[in-house]
């Protein structure tokens, strides 16, 4: 398939998942944020924005600005509206390859972005709507796109972004001083009920973090998402080698996953920031490696040539 199309599909996967994750994080944290005194609200809003990977433009950054930055700002790829806009733009460029179901659901979502009140109460509804829409997009993609190479790129983007988003959800633990942080972390990932059923009476930060980081069966856990990505990469490049990997992306994803999966620790909580940082780094490196290998090989050749 065309590199350009593959790239579009990869980014549709990433952006849709990013919108979904951001909506989840916003929905849960807004509730807490709202209860804080003004001064604290402001600093927490800025920290939350930083966790999501952006920086406040001015000190006067409070709740309304946070809503704009994470939900409604169409210019920023960090916001929900920006991500969904970008996903739709990518689908538009690959319109002849994606199914009409996928394209139409993304397009409808794009036009629905403006139909929401942008205050706190409206944002709750907005987040719910986004969750519904993204679920619909993934569902339609699953059932109307053939699971060939193009599908692998879509899932690859989604899995990488999912690992990244879960890492950010875990990082939000540091942000909010008031409240049961681990319940919020789990609610973010929609993992609360699953967690309770698996862990029974073992509550607490440590167990919740472990669940979101290492659980082998929960689809939003980092290890699960990285394994998905790994499987996609393997299917995209099935050439079996006796030793090692030539594919950079596979190496990066595989190393991160196996490190986490086989890592033994007594004090997960104090290591958590490092894990999160490394996972996010691995995702961005893998994403770069995938671009080099599949989307713009010309650049890669030139670049490697320079070094050697």
């Amino acid at each position: 398939m065309l590199s350009r199309i593959a790239e579009s599909l990869f980014w549709i996967g990433r952006y849709v998942e990013r919108a979904d994750g951001t909506a989840r994080i916003l929905d849960v944290h807004l509730e807490r944020l709202n209860h804080l005194p003004m001064e604290e609200q402001r600093s927490v809003a800025q920290e939350l924005l930083a966790v999501m990977g952006a920086r406040a433009q001015s000190d006067d950054f409070g709740l309304p600005e946070l809503l704009n930055a994470l939900a409604y700002d169409k210019q920023s790829a960090t916001s929900i509206a920006g991500s969904l806009g970008a996903a739709r733009e990518n689908a538009r460029r690959a319109r002849e390859t994606v199914s009409s179901g996928l394209w139409e659901s993304l397009n409808t979502t794009y036009y629905g972005l403006n139909q929401h009140r942008k205050d706190v109460v409206g944002t709750y509804r907005f987040c719910n709507w986004v969750l519904e829409r993204t679920a619909m997009v993934s569902g339609l993609a699953d059932t109307t796109v053939s699971h060939d190479e193009s599908w692998q790129f879509l899932v690859l983007g989604r899995s990488l972004e999912r690992a990244d988003m879960t890492a950010r959800m875990l990082s939000t633990r540091d942000v909010l001083s008031a409240g049961m942080s681990w319940v919020n972390m789990l609610r973010c990932a929609g993992a609360y009920e699953s967690f309770l059923r698996t862990r029974r009476a073992a509550f607490g930060d440590q167990h919740a973090a472990e669940f979101l980081l290492l659980d082998r069966l929960f689809p939003r856990s980092i290890v699960y998402a990285l394994r998905d990505a790994d499987e996609c990469l393997a299917k995209l490049d099935p050439s079996a080698q006796r030793v090692g990997f030539i594919n950079d992306a596979r190496r990066i994803v595989g190393q991160a996953r196996t490190f986490l999966e086989f890592h033994r620790t007594d004090d997960l909580m104090s290591e958590l920031p490092e894990h999160m940082e490394r996972v996010q780094k691995a995702v961005s490196q893998a994403s770069d490696a995938i671009s080099r290998k599949y989307f713009n090989q010309a650049d890669e050749l030139a670049w490697v040539g320079e070094v050697s």
């Binding site: 980014w11 999501m52 952006a54 790829a77 109460v121 008031a178 049961m180 894990h275």
Partner: protein, 532 residues
Amino acid sequence: MSDLFQEYSEAAGRTGAYDEMFAPGQQARKSYGQVALALRELSLADVSARADSMARTFLDRGVTFDFAGEERPFPLDIVPRVIPADEWSVLERGVAQRVRALEAFLNDVYDKMTVVSDGVIPRQLVTTSAHFHRQVHGFEPAGGVRVHISGIDVVRDAEGTFRVLEDNVRVPSGVSYVLENRRAMAKGLPEAFGQQLIRPVEEYPRRLLSALRKTAPSGVDDPTVVVLTPGVFNSAYFEHTLLAGLMGVELVEGRDLICRGNRVYMRTTAGEQRVDVIYKRIDDEFLDPLQFRADSMLGCPGLVNAARAGGVTIANAVGNGVADDKLVYSYVPDLIRYYLNEEPVIANVDTFRLEEKEAREHVLDRLDELVVKPVDGSGGKGLVIGPDASRDELDALRKRIIADPRGWIAQPVLQLSTVPTLSGDKFGPRHVDLRPFAVNDGEDVWVLPGGLTRVALKEGSLIVNSSQGGGSKDTWVLADSPQVPVEVIPRPTIAVRERVSVWPVESNWRDSQKEQQQQQQISDAQEVTANA
């Protein structure tokens, strides 16, 4: 105040009750300051839009109760009920005290009955109670607790004094609405949360689970807890699923359980699994066909014997109903003095015992001014409010009282306190009660800071039961200082924290070049341009 409150003070004047939000003269009380401020900002359109969205959320989430075979959302009003910290600390003490007294009473009643031999309460009263079960006489339940979960209904009279209306130590329900109401309100009226400290309710399931595990039969290391439900047709089925889900335990029906050798097992795909603690949400009469109703399909034969042998903990214990008897209720202040050697913190509502001849004659003369209740009723069943009843109803009631004086009590009509409630296009005063929930783990009685506030949605109505047109309100208990909430954990400042390093040192030659790209924003910007 906006025009939503225009005719409020007149309507409040008409009821003659204590209004919780406004002092006379339409002055918002201090505890309601924030709520009043938030409501003032809203127009009618805002309020009704939010009320609609809250109702829809409840229906979507399946927060319903079963009414005549139909699932209905439990109406949640948009105005919360606020209880200031000082009033709550009294309530909290009063509820815990009552639970301790009832626990002691039940232990005594199913054992030596010293309370009878010491002349505090007549033997006949205990033994004639419909819920005094001889089947569980003479043994201490495993874990040593009988009243694990209780809901003590309290109301405020015209002076604003809290009084206990009834005790529920069998199967108190409604706590699921406390949890769901808080979630809905956080999204429905976020402005009102603002600057005040509202004590959280979400730790209830964890407290409950830890209390249940703590009271497991001795010698069990990792007890298995289950919630026993009558099934999907029960009016409180939603609550059973919610609690089981939030505790992360199995929700079982009677047919999932088997008793063998005085132990209880559940049938699972991995074979039979031992059950140590049963949170029982079905009535005693249906629990065990060997001991109670032989035609019951809801229970499991052998449970009572297993409990007697100490093989399983049943929470709440079988036979607690005797403490719910409304005639026993009239003795609870005496029981508190007898068992705890304390004065009751919260008073009872004055109650006439109709077996006493003088009281009965007095009541029969004034039936049209009193409330008459059956002693073993719940959910407002069979209750007659004198001033609202017709001649015929009162005559019928009179005959029934004379035929069975043990079966009834009479109380003066209480003007329950009112809280503003949305009705049509404005707020009107509506009567409320309060059910705080307490969890007893054998060492300590913990009272959930909050509770179920039920509200009679019809103007002037005093009946708050959901089956008779009642709704609910979120109940906010304010914390008096930031130190009180147990939730606050000190925030580690990110800059100060020591970095632990466990990942392998990166040796890849590309990494150094990638360092500059760590800022997601920058790489995102590139992604966008790359895609555009």
